[in-house]
Point group: C2
DNA sequence: GGCGACTATACACCAGGCGTATACGCCGAG
DNA sequence: CTCGGCGTATACGCCTGGTGTATAGTCGCC
């Protein structure tokens, strides 16, 4: 939902072609999630079908038809809602790190190793971002800061969890023994 | 990739039916991402096709055929790699909050309002989690702590960004004026 | 005069995800 | 005893999102 709504939002300042839309997208959001040309057109088709955008003009002649898309009033409503509606709770912690640690615990792999490797990768990435941050202003500064904040959150969690792994493992074993589930 | 690998990992302790697999999944990961029954079977089909799992037995007679699935050696390798490989950088900041603030800035909506609403929602959620946390041990404590850490990261970013919004907006307007792009 | 870069779109395909249909057994209410 | 609901178990169809590739004209340049 996020990608299509983002594209829709980029139509708000005025009508645009799929191609220019993609260029604008790259300018602001490529850092967060790269986007293929192909997807722009399928997304525009869906938005049109759903009444959130419409084709204002089809300019034919030189090359392929150029289709000018415009956001509808309904589309503006959707963007509006998306922008201001707080994220639902579960989306806040969507990373896979926690899942990976859980799997390690369940499968007898060493979770401390998982944490250690992730910690190294994060530290490397943070150093790069901190360097980049010093030269940044405006929107880029916002983006860099956002990523740094979440890497930092992961690091704190890594420290805290690392200290607790022993206790967690015991809990888990106990929980499993309470089972007697049907397993071949 | 994460969901299918997670299911695969749950096959490691021993062969299982799709149904029991889903129950096990719910037990450990439902908090993070709910999973429909339907998806379990299509995922198992893909895993089988790709040689990461195979059918060990088809038990027919009472009701629908019960199919027992087993992880293959290759499957174990895939889980192993996934568990220990650090997440790629871009995945760390996958939330939409930053995107929503950017859209607000681009579209003339009030980004401070976006931040304020998200802040309220986060604070509410955090109070609930902190209460839950006091009664938690083991794996659940890990999960709660993980989410809390990321909510906290968002809050810090919200504070920091809020103070900088004026400067960011200027940067953004300047960048746009440097354009003269082909727009309607 | 042909080659590459840029503008512009369409199409086919795959994975992931959601809802619903199907089928059997068991158990309690009436 | 039978009917309906619940638990076990799987299959199927459909949609969204995402990726790659084909197509086609235009422009500049050597």
């Amino acid at each position: 939902m996020s990608t299509s709504t983002t594209l829709l939002a980029l139509l708000e300042p005025g009508p645009a072609y799929g191609y220019t839309l993609k260029q604008n997208y790259d300018r602001w959001f490529a850092r967060r999630r790269p986007l293929a040309f192909g997807q722009v057109y399928s997304t525009l088709a869906r938005l049109t079908r759903d009444g959130l955008a419409d084709q204002v003009e089809v300019e034919s002649g030189h090359g392929p038809d150029r289709r000018l898309y415009r956001i509808t009033a309904q589309g503006v409503g959707v963007v509006d809602e998306w922008v201001f509606a707080p994220e639902p709770p579960e989306a806040s912690a969507a990373g896979t790190l926690h899942a990976r640690v859980t799997v390690a615990l369940l499968s007898g792999r060493d979770p401390a190793d998982v944490l250690a490797r992730q910690r190294e990768a994060h530290l490397t990435r943070m150093r790069a971002l901190q360097a980049q941050r010093r030269g940044s202003t405006g929107p880029e500064l916002l983006a860099v800061t956002y990523e740094l904040a979440h890497l930092d959150a992961d690091l704190r969690w890594i420290e805290e969890s690392g200290a607790r792994l022993g206790a967690v493992r015991e809990q888990l074993v106990a929980a499993r023994e309470g089972d007697d589930d049907a397993r071949g």
